[in-house]
């Protein structure tokens, strides 16, 4: 059992958990992830580690509610426990002094981009960060990102905060302004990482993306997380999760991530209907509903 020391919403549907996991906290490096299972009947899902505190023996994860497991996870509070947390898994981000690095975080991906941005800054890079979100409410970790960046640009799809548009608009501007960019690191929705990679491919700027395919064990055993890199099959859990964005076959990733859509929808619907029943039956359950607002 892994105790949740602190749980707090960063934005609607996006929650940060500080989890007691001393072994993982001691070893975690930027870019790595954990796999967790909330309860006995639960599925295993990979979640990137946002930060860790080796002294306190805690790790931070940031979770956006999408399906049943993440929705359930986001209903957990300080003092609750998660049955299994295993990691740190995957290869750490390659941190070096590249010169100027643009770190792009899209949505909840910002939480995953943050530790990499921070490490790149410490390694002496000039870090230019671009954070994108659907709207103002969903912009997360703004002050944290600002603290580790030489410049921070923010875009919202609807223009409700900062500049209206997409992260790629900002990246294109930087390129057009003649900013010398040695590396781009992009973490976020697949469409975003693909758009960034397409843009930088033309400019011949090295680009690293962090992939989050379906995974079970996270140690290379199942092969479920295989992704097409340069026409060859690689395992995101042990060969990644970071890959050269110019070599990733994003279409295959989108296609494979859709493999269980029917089952996932069924799972979510049954979960929601059960929750509604229990909400009617118990006054406490309405608090769980409340977290969604």
């Amino acid at each position: 059992m892994f105790k949740i020391m602190h749980a707090q919403f960063l934005a609607p549907g996006i929650k940060r958990f500080v989890i007691e996991a001393p072994r993982i906290a001691r070893k975690q490096k930027p870019g790595q992830f954990v796999i967790l299972r909330i309860y006995e009947e639960g599925e295993r899902i990979p979640v990137t580690i946002e930060n860790s505190d080796p002294q306190k023996g805690t790790i931070n994860i940031v979770v956006q509610a999408a399906g049943k497991t993440t929705t359930l996870l986001n209903s957990l509070e300080t003092g609750d426990s998660i049955l299994d947390v295993v990691g740190p898994l995957g290869k750490p981000s390659e941190i070096a002094n590249y010169g100027t690095v643009v770190v792009v975080g899209g949505g909840v991906g910002t939480a995953m981009a943050y530790p990499t941005a921070s490490a790149l800054k410490r390694a002496g890079n000039r870090v230019l960060s671009i954070v994108g979100a659907r709207n103002k409410e969903l912009v997360i970790l703004e002050s944290e990102m600002r603290a580790v960046s030489d410049a921070l640009m923010i875009t919202t799809d609807d223009g409700s905060y900062a500049d209206k548009g997409f992260v790629t608009d900002k990246l294109r501007q930087l390129i057009q302004n003649g900013t010398r960019i040695d590396l781009v690191v992009a973490v976020g929705p697949i469409v975003m990482m693909k758009a960034v990679s397409e843009l930088t491919r033309k400019e011949n700027i090295r680009t690293v993306v962090s992939l989050n395919p379906i995974m079970i064990d996270g140690t290379g055993m199942c092969g479920g997380c295989r992704v097409m890199i340069d026409g060859k099959s690689e395992f995101a859990c042990v060969d990644g999760p970071e890959f050269d964005g110019h070599k990733v076959n994003f279409e295959v990733l989108v296609q494979r991530n859709a493999m269980y859509r029917t089952a996932e929808q069924r799972s979510m619907e049954e979960f929601k209907s059960k929750r509604e029943i229990s909400a009617q039956a118990s006054p406490h359950a309405c608090q769980a509903e409340g977290v969604q607002r």
């Binding site: 009947e41 295993r44 049955l83 064990d217 296609q255």
Partner: protein
């Protein structure tokens, strides 16, 4: 005919023993079991077990024991069954084997103890596996495991992986007074016994009972630890004070065929397919959250001819598959699966397409598997493995309509431990180098055994390696000599 010098407790003469037919294993009806995950074999009753035990010829030089990777004293335990001392029989097995309820179910007996049984020259061999299973289950039902009390040595051993080799080492060393802690990467203990072998062949309750027994003996377990990532071998030894480490991390990365279409939706590795079903209980979806493609009315094929392949396809059948094929590139004679599994699979209606290999997977426009393009093979000259090499027959291409394909053609070494342990020698294929006799690696105090040394093999071979390792770990811990 040779008999022991010791007076036999068996009332039958050798000639009479040969006349007793091999007692059939009671099993669940094939039609019914094809739709459930309950165990296929139901186990001998005491009467059947005693009747079967009477058939043992009590050879002076028992080849059964010689052919057992852990050297079980078969003759002795079978004699105890004859006289009705079932607990004594179990104790006898336990001297050599800490997991009898498991090996009694999954060992390829026909290649080992039963393969060289003298009876098989004239009639069917003694049902040694069935008898082993009977006494192990009897002992469990009686709840009379004897937990031996031993003087603690003050030495600590870390075991990496809770599969058959790791559990064997743990069981052996705890009985010699060492402190033992087993680290498991997954959320459940048992390794391949829980993620790989399905419920209908090895009920998980059996594994849990064996683990409970080990806990009662004092073995400590820690799940959710990927050694090499969560903690390294060096940290275990230098910071956590372990005097020795045994690495039994098992078969690693699933191999694919590198043919077009392996990334399609509906194409699985056997490891993933079986892990979803066995470890994550996807067959109970939606009561359990891990999803599985709905196989009802779908056509499914497994590629490969080993036990893993049969486990996968028989699971697919139980999940509602309409057609369930085994595609194997050689002929039936070369199939590495246990004979009993192939027999059971056939009874259940699995369609064996021998001398057949896929060359590509085909899909619809959304990336879902629709068919396997296959070729028929013929057997040519023997290859390096001594088996006749399959050669594609020209013009034999055909498309086999499929919704799901499961690739079960073996595994390659998982590099996590090797790549994070400086000085740990590996062979050309990336497996850990270990002495065949002592299971010592190139690192002082570090031992290894099972699939991570040999590549994919069987539960009992891994246990045999575990047995050799525990002997030599004990030696190292007592003498300090490397």
């Amino acid at each position: 005919m040779t008999t022991t010098a010791k007076k036999s407790l068996n009332p039958l003469s050798p000639k009479e023993r040969i006349k007793v037919p091999r007692q059939l294993m009671p099993e669940q009806n094939a039609e019914a079991r094809a739709h459930n995950f309950e165990e296929v074999n139901l186990g001998y009753s005491a009467e059947l077990a005693q009747q079967e035990a009477l058939r043992c010829l009590e050879c002076a030089k028992p080849t059964c024991t010689d052919n057992c990777p852990v050297g079980i004293d078969v003759k002795e335990f079978v004699q105890r069954i004859v006289i009705g001392d079932f607990l004594g029989a179990a104790a006898k097995i336990r001297e050599a084997n800490v997991l009898p309820a498991i090996t009694g179910r999954v060992c390829p007996q026909e290649d080992q103890c039963e393969g060289k049984c003298l009876l098989s020259k004239k009639v069917k061999p003694l049902g040694i596996g069935y008898l082993e299973r009977f006494v192990a289950d009897y002992e469990q039902r009686m709840g009379t495991h004897i937990v031996p009390k031993v003087e603690p040595t003050g030495k600590k051993v870390a075991i990496v992986g809770s599969g058959p080799s790791g559990l064997t080492v743990a069981g052996d060393l705890i009985q010699r007074g060492h402190k033992v802690r087993v680290f498991e990467a997954l959320n459940e203990l048992g390794g391949v016994l829980v993620y790989g072998i399905p419920e209908f062949r090895l009920p998980k309750q059996i594994v849990r009972e064996q683990l409970d027994y080990m806990r009662a003996m004092g073995v400590e377990f820690e799940t959710d630890v990927v050694v090499g990532r969560t903690v390294t071998i060096d940290e275990l030894m230098d910071e956590e004070g372990y005097d020795a480490v045994f690495i039994g991390t098992g078969a690693g990365l699933p191999q694919f065929m590198n043919i077009p279409g392996e990334h399609l939706n509906g194409v699985y590795s056997a490891n993933e397919f079986l892990t979803r079903i066995n470890l994550m209980k996807a067959y109970k979806f939606p009561a359990y959250d891990e999803p599985m493609l709905d196989l009802h009315g779908k056509d499914v094929a497994v590629i490969g001819g080993g036990n893993t392949a049969l486990d996968a396809i028989r699971s697919a059948l139980r999940l509602g598959a309409r057609k369930a094929y085994v595609l194997y590139r050689r002929s039936e004679a070369e199939m590495p699966a246990r004979a009993e599994e192939a027999h059971h699979a056939r009874q259940e209606g699995i369609d064996f397409q021998m001398l057949t290999a896929p060359v590509a997977f085909l899909s619809d426009e959304k990336g879902w598997l629709t068919a396997a393009r296959c070729v028929r093979m013929e057997l040519g000259e023997p290859d390096a493995s001594g088996r006749r090499r399959p050669v594609p027959k020209e013009g034999s291409e055909f498309d086999l309509p499929l919704s799901v394909a499961v690739i079960a053609i073996g595994t390659s070494a998982n590099p996590i431990v090797q790549s994070t342990t400086p000085g740990l020698g590996t062979n050309k294929r990336g497996y850990i180098q270990a002495s065949e006799e002592t299971q010592r690696t190139t690192r002082k105090g570090v031992f290894a055994g099972g699939d991570i040394v040999t590549g994919s093999a069987t539960v009992i071979l891994a246990m045999g390696a575990g047995r050799r390792a525990s002997k030599s770990i004990h030696e190292y811990l007592t003498t300090g000599e490397w």
